[in-house]
Amino acid sequence: MIGQVYYVHIGAQAQTASKTLIEIASASSSVTLLERAQIGQNSFDTSENLGCKIQLITTTGTGTATTPVPAEAQNAAYGGTVKTNMTIEPSYTANKVMYQSGFNVLSGFLWTPANDDEVIAVAPSGLVGIMLDVAPSASMNFSYGATIRQVG
């Protein structure tokens, strides 16, 4: 295995608005590969179509600093920065939507690359966001996360 794998997971967090759930900033000396992204909820029992997108970011926003968990306990801490549950939205880079999809809140959303070429690479000091881009009709307790690999 090349690089170190880290998990970012937030559990059952009430959300009422469209917002960036996770912002990942690659360290200046390493590349970050986004290998999984997921969104689900466990409090709303009716079908509802929401949307999410994964897009590159130009300017960071404000959110809760979150420490990625190493897949192997002895691994060093992730060198970049991860924020979740953004209160001030980042500025997304135009025409750099890497993935966008609707999903039923009862089923949740899961993205994994279909092949190696679809892995989203974040250059050193680059940023990427995972956003709930359609507001839920009512407060829902969302769990969401990402699996990232740091190389370099």
Partner: protein
């Protein structure tokens, strides 16, 4: 944002350079086929009819450098240069990042293959 950095090394008897270079005016792609593939314990990049085989350490360096130069500050008309024994290939920054990321993933698979196969 970060600064780009030149990488120069030898692999498979070929001189490899990853750097930045200016290409004034409209971007003119000169490559129609660009494929990164894992072949057993190696990473192979096909660029049109050229075949470049890299060991995993070399692939990681090249993949990382492509991502780094593609994501770095760029001035107008800057492209990412991938030079193989004198043949220059100019890539748009976003393509360089994608190719670099794919090479890193292929290097990961090649590394797994080596661990499973070589005892």
């Amino acid at each position: 944002m970060i600064d780009g950095q030149r990488l120069e090394l030898w692999s498979d008897g070929q001189r490899l350079v990853v750097d930045r270079k200016k290409q004034p005016g409209i971007y003119r792609p000169r490559v129609t086929k660009l494929v990164a593939r894992q072949e057993q314990g190696s990473v192979v990049v096909f660029i049109d009819d050229r075949r470049l085989e890299m060991t995993t350490p070399i692939a990681v360096k090249v993949g990382f450098s492509l991502c780094k130069n593609g994501g770095a500050w760029l001035e107008p008309d800057d492209r990412v240069l991938l030079e193989i024994s004198g043949t220059e290939i100019l890539l748009l920054p976003e393509i360089a990042v994608r190719l670099g990321g794919a090479i890193l993933r292929k290097a990961d698979r090649a590394d797994d293959w080596q661990r499973e196969t070589v005892h």
